[in-house]
């Protein structure tokens, strides 16, 4: 086992250390610590390249199942539960490492230009470096605890980065929203891990997968719940329906953050988790087993594909369009995993990272250079294709990939998923898939049209008419070019059409399930055939055509009856409104859930605390006191003195009641004295004789 495989832990460690350095000394550095961040990411990139290389070599050398390359140290142990920390390298991990390191490097390079002169330049790089570190930590986690560690670190960084400009309340709100939504999902992760521990008595991912695949567990039912719980976490993290609402708001952060967040890190974490623990989900949820009615993962994925795509239509903010497109692409990945297309789904993670990152960076480039930092397509963009050739080219390449035009990367990954859905006879999801493809093409066409075609508006107008205005500087364009070209070619790693299955061979051992045969088996990926892809492609073409026509009609020159249709036609307006309000899910969460908890419920609880609980103690004490007093105390001052006042007042009450006895009159005292004596004597005499 090679040096890189053994020392894979260095990959997250380097940026981790870099983070510390930036935080502590960043401010004093010439370039505010950004150089450290970039350097560390480069280092990580090199390391992970090495790792990937050695892994591939490892696979090619051996002919049977390839065991994952583990190097672990004991983190801590409690009784017979040992928790390790270290690295667990297999195909999946290697791919992700490479991907994350690569994208992060480019994004950092891009950022050095993009956020130059920002009020918190250093903070930004510190956070984004830690962010990558978190993702890397999670990707090569050998056990659930380390995975959770990385998972949460990302959550923290997303909070910091989305709320980077926290002076505006909106941003900090968005940051909170992101953190909370994800946190809600994390509940599932925590409980899920607890369940896994209860089932398998270990937290090592490898062991869990084996046991699950081999059916070595006693409580199938609990495993099902574990899978559900974990999946909830994935829903939160990967912005699946119904917890997708935080993703668009996450656009509040700087564009590089969005691109990083939405391409390779953070949001794919959920998908990654499912892929990572595939046996658990597969077995727990009985996926691809004959007679299975309800496939939770596929259903959620499918829904997400459609609703997100739908939302993408009505956005004017280019980043929001991309955000929703991300959501719907994540839906594809989930759906792919759900219908058993493990390889395709993971491959889609891989390709999607490139073109989505590219798209975001393009958007950033546009707003940075052309539209005065505005992202509003309708107000400040249009007709930029001439002035920004590089950006435009990159954008087009990425869009093509996203839409899955033949022979670009999206085609090989997304259509694989759709095929598998059909192949593993999930008719519904097949339909969903192709419809999704149609919608994708449609909204991307719209976005492209609004941004690069038509006549320049607002900010863009100035730019276009400015003679010596040029495309963005190299720190921005270089990443664009690289990513754009990768968007085109990366697909050939796994091109069934040419019988190229490198990616598959490298990663399939990570599925953790035997392929094809046996009850807990993952289905084989289907053979490629033009017939099965034809309908999809047809719909893509249709989407392009329709959308183009609509755009020309609605946004283009010349008046057309369609313009402003959504204002006039009731049905359309209703639908439009519904979409603009994101199916009212946000309303539900914010108005009902959050406000609910934050205000009435907690208030009620607090009131209870102050009045009932303290009050009970108090009421016990109040004893003989007049109820009027009680009411007064209850309603008037919340802070009722509990035990203290309570006993105090009883006491005073009782004491007061007793004082008359102390009348000061000798005879009375005498009477009392003798009376007591007589009574006592009498009773005792009667008792004792």
């Amino acid at each position: 086992m090679g040096w890189f495989l053994e020392h894979a832990w260095l990959i997250p460690a380097t940026p981790g250390a870099a983070f510390a350095v930036i935080i502590l000394f960043g401010k004093r550095m010439p370039r505010g610590g950004s150089e450290v961040g970039l350097a560390s990411m480069l280092a990580a990139l090199v390391l992970s390249a090495g790792t990937a290389y050695q892994w591939i070599a490892r696979v090619n050398d051996s002919h049977e199942e390839v065991p994952a390359a583990l190097s672990r140290w004991e983190w801590f142990r409690i009784g017979d539960l040992k928790v390790s920390i270290g690295s667990h390298i297999d195909g999946l991990a290697a791919v992700m490492l490479l991907l994350v390191a690569f994208i992060s490097t480019l994004v950092q390079l891009y950022s050095m230009e993009y956020v130059r002169g920002d009020r918190r330049y250093t903070h930004f790089f510190a956070a984004i470096t830690l962010f990558s570190a978190g993702m890397l930590t999670m990707v090569l986690a050998p056990n659930m605890v380390q995975l959770l560690l990385g998972w949460e670190i990302m959550g923290l960084c997303s909070f910091l980065l989305i709320g980077h400009w926290w002076e505006e309340r909106a941003n900090s709100e968005a940051a909170l929203k992101a953190f909370w939504t994800v946190r809600v999902g994390d509940m599932g992760l925590l409980v899920g891990i607890a369940m896994l521990l209860a089932i398998f008595h270990t937290l090592e991912i490898g062991a869990i997968n084996e046991a699950a695949a081999a059916g070595e567990f006693d409580n199938k039912n609990l495993l099902m719940w574990a899978a559900v719980a974990l999946f909830i976490a994935c829903i939160g993290k990967s912005g699946q329906f119904p917890l997708h609402t935080w993703l668009p708001d996450a656009m509040a952060g700087p564009t590089p953050v969005s691109s990083l967040l939405h391409s390779s890190t953070m949001v794919v974490a959920g998908v990654f988790l499912v892929a990572r623990l595939y046996p658990v989900f597969h077995v727990g949820l009985d996926m691809n087993i004959a007679g299975q009615r309800f496939n939770l993962i596929a259903v959620i994925g499918g829904i997400t594909v459609l609703i997100a795509a739908g939302l993408a239509f009505v956005q004017n903010d280019i980043k929001k369009v991309l955000a929703y497109s991300t959501v719907s692409q994540l839906g594809y990945m989930m759906m792919g995993l759900g219908v058993g297309a493990w390889t395709a789904a993971v491959f889609h993670i891989f390709t999607h990272a490139f073109f989505k990152c590219c798209l975001f960076l393009c958007a950033g480039s546009v707003s940075h250079t052309a539209s005065h930092h505005s992202f509003d397509m309708k107000k400040d963009m249009g007709g930029l294709r001439k002035k920004m050739p590089v950006t435009f080219a990159a954008w087009m390449a990425a869009t093509a990939a996203l839409c899955g035009l033949p022979f670009v990367s999206g085609f090989f990954s997304k259509d694989e998923i759709i095929d598998s859905a059909k192949n593993n006879d999930y008719k519904v999801f097949y339909i969903v898939g192709i419809v999704g493809a149609f919608m994708t093409t449609a909204y991307m066409t719209r976005a492209t049209y609004l941004t690069f075609f038509g006549k320049a508006r607002g900010g863009a107008a100035h730019f276009v008419h400015d003679e010596n205005a040029r495309d963005s500087s190299w720190q921005i364009t270089v990443p664009l070019v690289i990513l754009g070209s990768l968007a085109l070619v990366s697909g050939y790693l796994n091109a069934p059409i040419f019988k190229w299955h490198w990616f598959e061979t490298w990663t399939e051992s990570s599925i953790g399930l035997p392929l094809g045969e046996g009850i807990f088996a993952a289905p084989h990926p289907p053979e490629f055939s033009w017939v099965s892809t034809a309908p999809g492609l047809a719909l893509v073409a249709a989407g392009f055509g329709v959308s183009l026509l609509l755009c020309r009609a609605v946004f283009g020159e010349g008046t057309s009856g369609l313009r402003g249709l959504t204002e006039r036609n009731v049905v359309l307006r209703a639908g439009h409104k519904f979409l603009v309000n994101k199916y009212y899910l946000d309303a539900l969460y914010e108005r009902v859930v959050v406000r609910g908890i934050a205000h009435p419920i907690s208030r009620a609880a607090y009131w209870t605390n102050q009045n009932i609980l303290d009050g009970i103690v108090n009421a016990v004490g109040q004893g003989g006191r007049r109820t009027g007093d009680l009411v007064y105390k209850y309603i008037d001052q919340g802070l009722v003195d509990g035990a203290v006042n309570g006993s105090g007042t009883t006491a005073s009450g009782a004491g007061g009641a007793l004082q008359p006895v102390q009348s000061g009159k000798v005879n009375m005292y005498g009477a009392l004295l003798f009376g007591a004596a007589a009574v006592g004597g009498l009773v005792l005499v009667l008792v004792n004789s």
Partner: protein, 104 residues
């Protein structure tokens, strides 16, 4: 011997004394009632003394006790009267009801 009669007498005296202590407002009368009780005690003691002198070999503790009581009672009364005088000097009354400055 007729022990019970003696005891009865003692009891009656005791009760009268107690009644006096409780009912009388006049300090001196209260003192006197207390003397009554003491005497009832003495009667008891002497009666028992005789009784035991007859049936047990116990010494004559009773009569000794009685003597002590008489002596001590004298001392008590001395102090008592002194105090009555004291309050009379300060308040020109010996009614106990007026002795209730301190209460509660």
């Amino acid at each position: 011997m007729l022990i019970n009669e003696f005891l009865l007498l003692g009891a009656v005296l005791f009760c009268i004394g107690v009644y006096g202590v409780i009912a009388r407002k006049n300090a001196v009368l209260v003192l006197m009632s207390i003397e009554l009780i003491l005497n009832s005690v003495n009667i008891n003691l002497l009666a028992f003394d005789r009784l035991h002198a007859v049936d047990t070999a116990g010494g004559n503790d009773g009569s000794v006790f009685a003597l002590y009581i008489i002596a001590v009672a004298a001392a008590e009364v001395g102090v008592g009267l002194a105090m009555v005088l004291l309050i009379f000097r300060n308040r020109k009354t010996i009614s106990l009801d007026d002795l209730s400055e301190m209460k509660g």
